[in-house]
Amino acid sequence: MKIIETRDLVKVYGSASNAVHALRGIDLDIERGEMVALIGPSGSGKSTLMAILGCLDIPTGGSYALDGRQVEKLAGPELAAIRNEKIGFVFQQYNLLPKATILRNVELPMLYAGVPRKERRERALELLAQVGIPDKAGVLPGALSGGQRQRVAIARALANRPALLLADEPTGALDSKTGQEVLALFQELHAQGNTVLLVTHDPAIAALAERRVELRDGLLASQECREEAA
């Protein structure tokens, strides 16, 4: 079963006269349970592709099926529901709400999904234990180290049991040791059956993935597969 299936995905910014073609026709398939790295230099269209795959933006042309559902034509509220249900984001800058407690940050996606408060709380605590910071529920993000914050972000991304974990340079703001730990966590999640898409410019990180997809000038330049995870 394919989690991601895009055909001839095109994204054009601006008007006809000075149009920027960020994506020029992407055909990308990702199977359930895969761990894929999306690499490419800046300006290659990586961020645009990530935004579209993450349902934060819609393509100008082409088709995109996420977990079996065509999403390329959906409007704002439906996209929001898809993001809520199917996608877990992990950002480079963590993107935690700075004034909300860790617990509440992790609860947020479940709040929008309409999960009752008690259930939300239990699941959030469970997730925090799973990512290795069970005792930080009551503190604010500012009190945590970068690595811990990224663990919170991962816990939050997992809250609604998404079909796809979408990580955008998840170690970009971390030192190498902490970065390794976070990547190890992703590998662990992958081993548990989660589908992971890692967006990165770092070949060393991309090497951890089963498959690497390289983007250049809005086109897929190459796809390499690797049999064994490190």
Binding site: A51, G54, L56, D57, R69, G76, P77, E78, A80, A81, I82, R83, N84, E85, F89, F91, N95, L96, L97, K99, A100, R104, L108, P109, L111, Y112, A113, G114, R117, R156, N160
Partner: protein
Amino acid sequence: MKIVRIKTSGAFRERLFESWVELRENPGRSFLQALGVMLGVASVLGGFAISDSQRNQSERLFARIGGTDKLNILPTDTAYQETPSALQNANLGLREEDATEGGRLPSARAVNATSVVREARARVRSEFADQERDVSGIGADYVAMNGYEIEQGRGFSAHDLETGAPVAVLGSQAASVLFPTGEIVGKPLRIGETPVRVIGVFAEKTFRFHEGQENMFAWRNRIVAVPSLLVAGRMEGDDYHRLDRVTFRVPDLAAMTDFSKELSSLVTANHRLQDDFRLDDVAKRMERQMSQADVYNIIFMLSGVLALLGGGMVNVNIQLASLKERVREVGIKMALGAPGREIFKALMTEALLLTLLGSFVGFLVGVVFSWVITHSIGIPLMLSPLSFVWATALALVFGFLFALYPATKASRLSPMEALRYE
């Protein structure tokens, strides 16, 4: 397949709780936003309270010094100063019968006291003093209606009033001038050519609108009171015992309207259709009272509305100033699956909650504020529940209107742009 999973039923309570959490997470911003509401509500409430207190005090003053509850019949000036017509001359003028017959009218049920006065100016001589003074010939319930109380001796008996007995009761000032030392009760007094005996002294009457003001009832203490029959009959030789004023006290202003109509036709008939008397205009009095209240209310409502308007603008400014912080927040929430309308509803709920909380603090501030003001001008504070309702209602209307713009703006952000916003 479940796509839209945002709960719509029972979501308001949840949203309210979330708003409370949001407000608690951002105490500084929330406080500044609530400040406008607080001041607006305080100003509406304070305005109403001060206006109510002032009006209440004015009404008390009216009731005590003139009284909106009193209906007077007075002779017109023609009878005194101009050349009266033959018919007017043949008239008997305002008499005791006008008062007694007026009291028997069907609508006189509403009357709870009647008084009559015949004024005179005369030389008043005691063993100590010799002065030209006003002398009040009084009858019926005059003493009680004007709130006089006997301090020494006794008041007029019914017999004194019916026969026009040569007796006098003095106000406290008149007593101290005419009899600076020694006993007063029982002493002889000569009013004009008529010898009378002092039978009592009224207690001093005082009324001050504000603390420290001069006594507005000083004139009442100057009274030299004798039966009206004594003035009309023995002193002035008026066989018809005419009066200068008849007063009915009617506590119910609505009933006074009916009574004044019946009284007017009665007196007109008694006076052979001659227009030689004047009745207080009740309608005009009611109108004046109402319009005065309206003016106060409009002024204070306006000042409150202006304060809320200012507060609302402050609120919008704070919202816009905290936009950078907010936009990222909104972006994150949208990425996590909050649709635009959820963002809108959340912000509106937050504004609503903020308005209510601000209103409560505003109540406190407003009450303290109006207490300080009324206390400093020395009138009792009066708070009506209606002013709380008005203040809250206005705050909610303005809170809602001013929240619309930032909430709409936030809900229309694109998640991608909001996330990248720096």
